[in-house]
Subunit: 129 residues, 6 copies
Amino acid sequence: MSAGGGDDRIREFTEFRERMNERILAEPNQVVRRFFALDTQAYQAGVLDVATKELLGLVASLVLRCDDCIGYHVARCREAGVGREAMFEAFSIGLVVGGSIVIPHLRRAVDFLDQLEAGAPAPAEHAHD
Amino acid sequence: MSAGGGDDRIREFTEFRERMNERILAEPNQVVRRFFALDTQAYQAGVLDVATKELLGLVASLVLRCDDCIGYHVARCREAGVGREAMFEAFSIGLVVGGSIVIPHLRRAVDFLDQLEAGAPAPAEHAHD
Amino acid sequence: MSAGGGDDRIREFTEFRERMNERILAEPNQVVRRFFALDTQAYQAGVLDVATKELLGLVASLVLRCDDCIGYHVARCREAGVGREAMFEAFSIGLVVGGSIVIPHLRRAVDFLDQLEAGAPAPAEHAHD
Amino acid sequence: MSAGGGDDRIREFTEFRERMNERILAEPNQVVRRFFALDTQAYQAGVLDVATKELLGLVASLVLRCDDCIGYHVARCREAGVGREAMFEAFSIGLVVGGSIVIPHLRRAVDFLDQLEAGAPAPAEHAHD
Amino acid sequence: MSAGGGDDRIREFTEFRERMNERILAEPNQVVRRFFALDTQAYQAGVLDVATKELLGLVASLVLRCDDCIGYHVARCREAGVGREAMFEAFSIGLVVGGSIVIPHLRRAVDFLDQLEAGAPAPAEHAHD
Amino acid sequence: MSAGGGDDRIREFTEFRERMNERILAEPNQVVRRFFALDTQAYQAGVLDVATKELLGLVASLVLRCDDCIGYHVARCREAGVGREAMFEAFSIGLVVGGSIVIPHLRRAVDFLDQLEAGAPAPAEHAHD
């Protein structure tokens, strides 16, 4: 999901992600496995709905500048019904809080969003699935 | 807003914050002034409402571990009607995304929230006020 | 645990830490509670012994520049039998990996270590205790 | 601009950068657009000249470890007349402040600089152009 | 150098800084000592003059958000003849690159600069002095 | 060493790394060269053995999220006799301290480790070799 991208990139990233999640969860390390479970639990609907929680995950990923995480939450936001305009409002907060250093990640986020809107397949649900 | 805290701390912080904002905005540097204006504009109601935007600012501040910013957004969230349970759901996402390194800031965030709920005065609205 | 320090500072920090941990764990947020439990579990003896794991926690805290976390792991390392020379070797790796931006935290870490060696009380075991 | 690189990589990066800037600025989000304008304004000549400001942007990008930003400022520095020796002095400050974690980015920065000196086309001026 | 500040704060910080530097350099750890020496060497005049190098150190410290480092480089910049307007141009680049998360540190930087201009004593030269 | 990977990726990365180290050390900048030497010295056996020091470098790299550094220390740990289970315990501490933002880097770290165990060639010893 670096410069360029495109449909194949998303597919390649998704396959790598799922294959490695399986590898990691097959390992007998309970702390890692519980962390993955907790990561899923954190985004389940509570007082805040799924869309809001995924937006929180998206902005956290933007300011920490993790392309894989940003792409993941952009996809999850879309599935939870977050529209393009709302997504850009979240982007704008990430940009103001995190600064211009966020811009290269914003470019890739918008590219990723464009591809999802054009019909590219989204990565499967949370880390341990 | 480091270890300890209390009503006087919030007042001291609020006064320092307002005094320095005035100093900074009195300076003839247009980039800095425009940045402060943009910081305010980013949190105004749009497709996303103010409560959601302040929650985004809160989680971004948590994972970037800035106590002053966290305290500020906790206060703004409360004013926008975000309840304690919703606040903790946002905290939990910040904690999972940002890791245990966030815990000392979470302690101070909860201490700050407790003080606001006990009646301490909140810092005034965004950066350039 | 900022500039200055001393015995009272450690006591004040320790009391604040324990009081807030209780507040946080009294909250009905399962993700936060499970995270605190996981944080404790991660440092229990496994193939790696406790001293090595606490050193890992110490260097991670140094490069992420969290004074409270550094102080906590310095105390835990000492209890696990890590001597001053070994501690400085860990500090030196944190300094080289993290850069000169780590120096102010190194100063406070050494001050904290000096106080522990002079008999100051250490903070209690992991986050949720 | 990851491991490897070469003339095509710079061209691919530059095209992606310009295409996505256009996409982003076509979006009706005023905060994002104003941020891009401010990003350009910050580097215009003032009391400090353009070369000094681009060096500031370069070191900030190095310690925050953003390859795209580093490459961009390396190109701008060159255009503003910053020579190779001065560039390395800036690199050395970024390395000492940011630590060994900066080294992989330094490698790519030097590779990028080598390519520019060998005649590769530089990315166009600031973010919103 | 947290919220509040004032002449005593700078004195307290300076004394702590010098005392701990001595403690650290008295330790028989060659890596740490060499790092401190390298930190000093990095800011010596070369192709770039001292003022430019200190501005680079200042902006790096701003975007990495280290108050002690920022205060130190603000003092060094002043000694190297950097005026208030130039300092604010450097601040504005740090603010745009690093985002609104830099604002609390900017407040303390301006407060520190105000105190230096009002006659407060500056911390002594680089880390190992 | 981004999504995908494989034997060629490691070879390409290793070649790029060695070529650029040579380029950088050929440059007449003493601060950069001394930094590279110090980076090597920090991991030499002392009171702590090489395996422990490389584990410290690994966890520091994980929480700072630098793929190249992680891959490098994974290879060095293996050479120093650190087994897969111990490696995962170090990973789990990096994950808990650094949060879910570390997960994409953990995936690539495990992929890299798998390839080393399958016989891929490891990058040569420290930075300036």
